[in-house]
């Protein structure tokens, strides 16, 4: 069976050109679909299960990196995870991260010689893992390091101003047990009750000490000290409970490594 690919690139001319170059470099490859935004990339990848996924980084909807992270969470366990190739015009931080990692990346304008090298790498990876199943630890490791925020120079957060009705409630960071992204808001969970803030989790994360607050899911950050226990269900998915909160929090497989028993 021939290998299959999905291309996610928002600029129509570039998507067309990438497809043409890709087919030239890899005549047997079947390009299943070309999509123009991050959300469609996730939906189509889950529906079509391509072997290779070419993701532009800056896209409408969600970025290529976010799309990859969501895919890693949603991808079924019994299916091989696609080989990821990121495409970027200029993304200093990402390029730097890629260079230390084996996930391949392409710089725009994409050049045929470089694309052939990518094709060889992907072919080698696919040949090697055809018999195996399950997402590769290496891919997760790479994604994790790509998702990690660059260190911020912003002063770290001490108190969170949250609007409650007509007034602003000042919540000390030391009282926060977890942050959970919910639609347009972030829920700030406390031992008793919760408050809502509008600052996206992405902007909040660089201001939090990563040793104190652990990311456990795309949309969840918990205070490490407040974690009570972590359990695995029949499907192998992890979830955790905090000491002072009743609800369970799903742990993404991107961050499952943290909970291997010492």
């Amino acid at each position: 069976m021939n290998a299959t690919a999905l291309i996610a690139e928002d600029e129509p001319l570039l998507a067309q050109a990438l497809q043409a170059e890709l087919v030239r470099a890899w005549p047997d490859l079947r390009v299943l679909k070309v999509v123009g935004d991050g959300d469609a990339a996730v939906a189509q990848a889950l529906a079509l299960r391509p072997d290779v996924l070419l993701l532009d980084i800056r896209m409408p909807g969600q970025s290529g990196l976010d799309a990859a992270a969501e895919l890693a969470e949603e991808w079924p366990d019994d299916q091989p995870f696609p080989a990821l190739v990121f495409v970027t015009a200029f993304d200093a931080y990402a390029v730097q991260a890629f260079e230390t990692q084996a996930v391949d990346y392409l710089l725009k304008p994409v050049q045929p010689e470089r694309l052939r090298l990518t094709v060889q790498r992907v072919q080698a990876l696919l040949a090697q893992r055809r018999p195996a199943t399950g997402p590769l630890d290496a891919t997760l490791e790479q994604l994790r390091s790509l998702m990690a925020q660059p260190p911020s120079q912003a002063t770290s957060l001490q108190v969170i101003p949250a609007s409650v009705g007509q007034s602003i409630r000042m919540v000390p960071l030391t009282e926060v047990l977890a942050f959970e992204a919910a639609d347009k808001y972030v829920r700030v969970l406390l031992a008793q009750g919760e408050v809502l803030i509008r600052t996206p989790l992405k902007e909040l994360m660089p201001q939090l000490d990563p040793a104190v607050f652990w990311q456990i899911h795309r949309g969840t950050v918990v205070r490490a000290e407040a974690i009570d226990n972590v359990t695995r269900n029949e499907a192998g998915r992890l979830s955790l409970k905090l000491r002072a909160r009743p609800e369970a929090f799903a742990v993404s497989r991107l961050y499952a490594d943290r909970f291997r028993a010492m």
Partner: protein, 344 residues
């Protein structure tokens, strides 16, 4: 220069001690007292004068420079307080009556007070003028650094690498499939780059160009973006003929249009529309840049081009230009500039 740097304070104290010693030597040469006795008087009085002046100027003004008149008053006050106090302390140490000088040698005392006054005045003048000079130099350097940084930021934002490399990638694709369109795109890029470099070199007041030029450069930029974004970008430029010769700082509107693309349309799956228009309003020339993109809640922090436009307006039309900016989620963004320009 931090006002309470212990090293510079110690340096000034040391200079006072040396100065007091020289005075004691000089007085010994012309008076009957021993050097040791003169040293006691000289150091106590001199250091008190120095302490009162050097401390007092920071009490009067946080910067340490309360102005020339206040400084003169401070010197006189310090001497009038420190001379009797210092000599009384020295008298006590030497076992003499506290007011012996004033009571028995009033003429000599007056002479010493006047001498202290000139010494204190000289010292204060010397050190503060040096400090003021250093501060002025530092401020000059800082202003220069800020100007350079502003120019660099302008250039950097207009030659944004993401925009540049994506444009080149599109060009590369077009060369194979549609050479004619590729040539047109290359010409646009050429004009855009030339205008950007020119704008980054010219200073904000001298290097003005006409509104017609401004709108032509915006069209270059938007056409480049239209090739990249396809049907996701729609735009209209409205410049009444009567206003086309009006002069404005080059690429003044460009950061605003770029914001519309980058923060309004690019994140939106369906894209949107950008409108740039000029009109003669009641308060002057009105330039409006708006989009129908995703919008945002509050004015974004620095680095979004808005502060840059504000700075340029402040330089080109000090206190006379306004920038009104409004945005709301899902309601797009609207920026309105009002410039104090005469009717052509």
């Amino acid at each position: 220069m931090p006002p309470f740097n212990p090293v510079t304070i110690a340096r000034r104290a040391l200079a006072a001690v040396v100065f007091n010693t020289v005075l004691a030597l000089a007085i010994t040469a012309v008076s009957g007292e021993t050097l040791a006795v003169n040293m006691v008087y000289s150091q106590f009085i001199g250091l008190l004068i120095w302490g009162l002046i050097d401390g007092g100027r920071f009490v009067l003004h946080p910067s340490g420079w309360p102005g020339a008149r206040a400084m003169a008053g401070l010197v006189i006050g310090a001497v009038l307080v420190a001379y009797p106090l210092g000599s009384a302390i020295a008298n006590a140490l030497l076992g003499r009556p506290l007011l012996i000088g004033l009571n028995h040698f009033p003429r000599a005392t007056l002479g010493f007070v006047l001498m202290s006054l000139s010494a204190g005045g000289f010292g204060a003048y010397y050190f503060t003028s040096r400090e003021l000079l250093a501060r002025a130099r530092l401020a000059g350097k800082e202003a220069q650094r800020q100007a350079t940084e502003a120019r660099l930021k302008l250039l950097e934002s207009q030659l944004e690498p993401h925009m540049l490399f994506n444009t080149l990638a599109n060009l590369r694709a077009l060369i194979g499939t549609d050479p004619e369109r590729a040539v047109a795109m290359l010409d646009r890029l050429n004009d855009f780059l030339r205008a950007t470099l020119k704008a980054s070199r010219a200073d904000a007041t001298a290097g003005q160009h006409t509104l017609a030029d401004e709108f032509a450069r915006l069209r270059d930029y938007l056409e480049l973006m239209a090739v990249r974004m396809g049907p996701r970008l729609r735009y209209t430029l409205e410049l009444p003929e009567a206003l086309s010769r009006q002069r404005v700082p080059p690429l003044l509107l460009q950061p605003l249009v770029e914001n519309c693309i980058r923060h309004g349309l690019e994140p939106s799956v369906g894209g949107g529309e950008i409108r740039v228009s000029a009109r003669q309003g009641a308060g002057g020339l009105e330039l409006e840049v708006s989009d129908t993109g995703v919008g945002c809640e509050a004015e974004p922090a620095a680095g979004f081009g808005l502060s840059q436009v504000r700075e340029r307006l402040a330089t080109a039309y000090p206190g006379q230009a306004r920038l009104h900016w409004h945005s709301a989620p899902a309601a797009g963004t609207r920026a309105l500039l009002t410039l104090p320009l005469p009717t052509p």
